[in-house]
């Protein structure tokens, strides 16, 4: 137990950024509470009621959730609850004289241990879903209607771990934060915390902390400082103010249109890796979404997403953007982004291997599902479908033919397909040199890959990192040529690599004539500031 007076700094791992000053609320493990057991018959009835109630509560929770990942987790739990094979061993144990809570816990623990022992991490990860479920049922047996404590304002919740369903049932507004003894920055709950901007630190280890201990949680450094002194508090307060000020300044600038000093408008779009990011973003921030990395959909723990799941995500993106264009890139797996079960394993040189459109054309069944979902979503906004890693015109022709087939298939099913544009990423030098031969509606320059392919310097090879520089004339000249081709053909052109948000590179990109970039949401304020300061005169 930490001394109740002296400052103690606990080091964990950062899981969700932000700073919180408050008091520790220790979340006791609900499993260890005692309850008065009844007869075998009464206990069996109590368990039956608790299972029913838990299934009802979970179904009600599912209704309120609008993200596919979370509702799939809950659906799995409901399916387990509805399976007699789950409860049967518990009823037998109760018949043998055990109280309902102990019997059910024993069954869940045994199943969770079995899952954990699986060689496959997918199965092992399901153990926490089982424990989440077990805890819910046992809490109901203990007569607790609400599964979660009400958090006072400024509470820093300290627990071993936190399940997604418990996180979702709590109010996290007003400076509440999370400190976990175990947990992981990649856990589902950490993702939820980031999307709701709840500061979170994980992996603090087996620490005992007295309830109501004053503390400062630093989600950037991954620390929990107990019993902070006056100086610690003052410094923390300064950082909080600075952070808020920085946010405010950027936020103000980011909501205004970007215009060079010569008065030319530059459109700034967003790169989105996970649609959850949109929850906290104002569409006024951008002129559209310039890159949606659909790989995130294919990296879920549940394998390849089906058409409905994809459609719902695409529709959500388009609706969020209102009348702004949304560029969705078809699956860009391969290279440094393997997708189990799809990309080749053990390619000697994956960046030059089966990736992007090459992979999609090699797996038309998977590609068609994505195209169907995309085309179905087209009616919800201004959709631009972007094909990655195109090298030669016949790849674009094949992709276009598939798109047409899918459109006809959907129309034959009586579904309406809205208007959309079909374009290409320009990232392979072969394509950049022969652009006029490609039948497309727009270009988007992928500066990261374009740079590595032009300079033959791998993104993953730190020994040649100096060479992979977008400021090399070869890269800037190629970008200028792509912009010129777009202008000649009357096509929109944008750039969606790291170069667009790099203060060192962006002025040079503007000098090539480029007037549209797509960057991470956090970089929008900075990018607009650079654009507003730029003029042709300042940059020959």
């Amino acid at each position: 137990m930490a001394d109740s007076q002296a400052p103690v700094c606990l080091q964990g791992r950062p899981a969700s950024p932000g700073l919180a000053a408050g008091t520790v609320l220790v979340y006791a493990d609900g499993f260890r509470q005692r309850r008065q057991a009844g007869t075998s018959g009464e206990e069996q009835e109590a368990l039956r009621m608790a299972l029913q109630q838990a299934a009802g509560d979970l179904s009600a929770l599912m209704e309120r959730i609008d993200d596919a990942e979370t509702s799939a987790v809950l659906e799995f739990q409901v399916a387990l609850l509805e399976d007699d094979n789950l409860s049967e061993p518990a009823f037998q144990r109760i018949g043998g004289g055990e109280p309902a809570d102990r019997a059910f816990r024993a069954v869940i623990d045994a199943m969770a241990a079995d899952y954990r022992a699986a060689a496959d991490e997918y199965f092992a990860a399901r153990a926490s879903d089982l424990e989440d479920l077990g805890e819910r049922v046992i809490r109901l047996l203990h007569g607790e209607a609400t599964v979660c404590p009400r958090l006072p304002i400024g509470a820093i919740l300290l627990a071993d771990d936190l399940s997604p369903s418990r996180f979702l049932a709590m109010d996290w507004s007003n400076d509440r934060a999370i400190a976990l003894r175990r947990g992981s920055p990649t856990a589902h709950v950490a993702m939820l915390a980031r999307s709701r901007e709840v500061p979170m630190v994980v992996g603090l280890g087996d620490v005992g902390v007295a309830a109501d201990t004053p503390a400062l949680l630093d989600g950037e450094a991954g620390t929990l400082l107990l019993n902070p002194g006056g100086e610690d508090r003052a410094a923390f307060r300064q950082r909080q103010i600075a952070l808020r000020g920085e946010h405010r300044e950027d936020a103000q600038l980011s909501l205004l249109p970007a215009r060079t000093r010569d008065g030319e408008a530059v459109s700034v779009h967003l790169n989105i890796a996970d649609p959850e990011e949109l929850r906290r973003l104002d569409p006024a921030l951008c002129d559209g979404i310039g890159l949606v990395r659909t790989e995130f959909l294919f990296h879920g723990r549940r394998g390849l997403p089906d058409e409905t799941e994809q459609f719902e995500v695409y529709r959500r993106l388009l609706r969020w953007a209102e009348d702004r264009p949304v560029t969705i890139r078809t699956l860009d797996a391969g290279g440094d982004k393997p997708v189990a079960g799809l990309t080749l394993v053990g390619e000697a040189n994956p960046f030059l291997g089966l990736r992007g459109v090459r992979l999609s054309l090699a797996h038309p069944a998977v590609f068609r599902v994505q195209l169907r979902a995309l085309l179905r979503s087209a009616c919800c906004g201004r959709l631009r479908i972007m094909i990655p890693m195109v090298s030669v015109p016949r790849e674009m022709t094949a992709a276009r033919a598939l798109v047409h087939e899918v459109r006809e298939e959907l129309q034959a099913e009586g579904r309406s397909v809205g208007d959309f544009e079909l374009g290409m990423m320009v990232e392979v030098p072969a394509a950049a040199l022969t652009l006029d031969a490609f039948q497309v509606d727009f270009y988007s320059i992928g500066s990261n890959d374009l740079t590595q392919y032009l300079l033959a310097a791998g993104r993953d090879a730190s020994a040649v990192a100096d060479l992979a520089d977008p400021l090399e004339p070869a890269v800037l000249n190629t970008i200028a040529a792509v912009v010129a081709s777009a202008r000649r053909r009357g096509l929109p052109v944008s750039l969606c690599g790291d170069a667009g948000a790099d203060p060192r590179v962006l002025p040079h990109l503007l000098a090539t004539g480029l007037r549209s970039v797509s960057v991470a949401p956090a970089a929008v304020g900075r990018v607009k500031r650079i654009v507003n300061d730029w003029s042709r005169a300042s940059h020959g």
Binding site: N85, R302, L304, D306
Partner: protein, 96 residues
């Protein structure tokens, strides 16, 4: 005796995550739509488990690349096997 029809088939599991949470939910949900008794095994000689039980299906921990053996007994056995094989083949997509 002749009232009862039987059917069986094998299908290769291509799903990235194997018979993991969501595929299992999808498979058992579909299996429950049939009256036939439906069983699944990872080898031709069993052990056979109830294909309508998510607890049993999850316990097989079938990884990607497994061959799933399915068998059914009951009046709609044929349709059941046909539909379940199709479900696995299209990677557990709910819409075919």
């Amino acid at each position: 005796m002749s009232e009862t029809s039987r059917a069986q088939a094998t299908v290769l599991l291509t799903h990235e995550a194997g018979l993991h949470a969501r595929p299992s939910v999808s498979l058992t949900k579909r299996a429950k739509q049939f009256r036939a008794r439906i069983q699944l095994a990872l080898a031709p000689d069993g052990p056979w488990v109830d294909a309508k039980s998510i607890v049993k299906i999850m316990a097989t921990k079938a990884p990607q690349g497994s061959t799933l053996h399915l068998r059914a007994e009951g009046e709609d056995a044929d349709t059941a096997i046909h539909e379940l094989v199709a479900l696995v083949e299209r990677d557990f997509e709910d819409h075919g």
